[in-house]
Amino acid sequence: MSRIIGTETEFGIVTQGPRLMDAVSSSTLIVNSYPLLPSQSVLWDYENENPLMDARGFEVDGERERPASDYNRLLNKVLANGGRFYVDGAHPEYATPECSNVYDLIAYEKAGERILEQALSRARHSGSEERTLHIYKNNTDHKGNSYGYHENYLVSRGVPFQKIVDQMMPFLVTRQIFCGAGKVGHENRTEAVSYQISQRADFFEALVDLNTMVKRPIINTRDEPHADPKRYRRLHVIVGDSNMSEVTTFLKVGTTSLILAMLEPEGDVAHEASVAYDGIGFQLENPVWAIRAISRDLTLRKHVKLSGGKEWSAIEIQRAYLDQAERFFEASDNPTVHAILHKWRAVLDQLAIDPMKLSREIDWVIKKEMIDSYTARKGWELSDPRVTMLDLQYHDVVQEKGLYYALERGRHVDRITSSDAVAAAEQNPPTDTRAYFRGACLKKFPKEVYAISWSSILFNTAKGIKKVPLMDPLKGGKSSIGTLLERSNTVEELLSMIAA
């Protein structure tokens, strides 16, 4: 299954030093401290961006982002792997390059953690003073302030948006049982609890909307495909947690890709449908209530109401999706599809018997097991503020300090990718999406690349600035453009060969 996917991660950041440093300055320092950028001069091209376009068919008033050149360069870095490293409000953010499969996605997302770690290490000593920085791949300060983790799935424009909403709503509310990152406590004026499944569930207050920062919706309507809008939409999923566990990310992105693919048998995006499919066929009575209730039920036994009166557990709802997916993909010859289905089934079965047995695979369980073992040993109450520190430090991107990494070193958690694959993903773009063209051009012509967006590259040439549009994320891979790039000694040669 070839589906373009990518994730954006906003990181929590703290700086301690002789001088007070606000979050914007800290984030700016971080993105400017990463040592392995291919180019210092490239601009981020906002020309094709419009986050105010709503998938329900209208455009919202608001200010578009258009920073002046110097400021643009200060805030935006384009990486050799084709991803983007930038300041988003008061957080450093990393966007993976476009990936064609979940295995690549995991390697590129993990590469982001390594990029932040290296940037942090260098930022510590930059300028005249020493400072201590902490960066967390989590989603909350435990005081009511959340920052995001967004998944992006390219979907055929042929699928009506309402059909996506109907298909995704019960799925996104319940998938947290195997992709929640776990959280100590509660916030945002929600019901008190000492530990819950999701970092983000407390923050979702609406069903479907364009907002991402206030009154967050379970389904976000941003219609900004970063691709040919006649052929594609990009589903921008904002309801998920940032995960540390590779298995958890595999399930989160893998299962979501599958149930989206089931909607587009007639679409442009590659698929392997064996049967016609008409959507999941049920809805939750109150998704906003359900997402919080499910996050608070560590036994996974409680039932939530469906429209029409039935009451199902989150596991039963997920099994309904899985049953349909297994039938839909039965004849698929794609091993990744079957690996996802297999893991999905195994994890749901185990969740039904004893969730705590998944302490090698699922973040919220891994974290809970670690907290339970440690607090039992220390005799701490769960309400002890040091327990929140354990939670926070699980997400520390510095491998020597991060508790997830301590578990990984001790082989207490399962992995999907390898450290070698992650190292390769930091410096090289995926070979089978347009990210290849972006990353390879930046490496080969670092001075000539003038500006970059997700869907174009602008080159500085002898005849002025020339734009190469990249409106199809599946095109621009190594098989089509690799030889041309190799043969080109100058940007002018490259452009004339592309035009030919």
């Binding site: 929590g12 703290v14 991402t212 039992a376 040091r386």
Partner: protein
């Protein structure tokens, strides 16, 4: 917490019972798991932020996205 301790004690008791009749392989495996866990707990002791209470109190972020 009391419940947690009870659970831990029960686990210990289970282990002892098993130990009487269990084959040496299982005992060895159990030992290895415990050693690994001890090592992990010590590692957490070493790296856990000092003044955790203060740190957590001061950890305030701006909302993002």
């Amino acid at each position: 917490m009391a419940k947690q301790e009870k659970k831990e004690k029960k686990k210990e008791a289970d282990k002892k019972e098993e130990g009487v009749s269990a084959n040496p392989e299982v005992v060895e495996k159990g030992k290895a798991i415990k050693e690994d866990l001890d090592k992990l707990m010590e590692e957490i002791d070493d790296v856990l932020e000092e003044n955790a209470e203060e740190f957590v109190k001061n950890f305030v972020q701006k909302g993002g996205e």
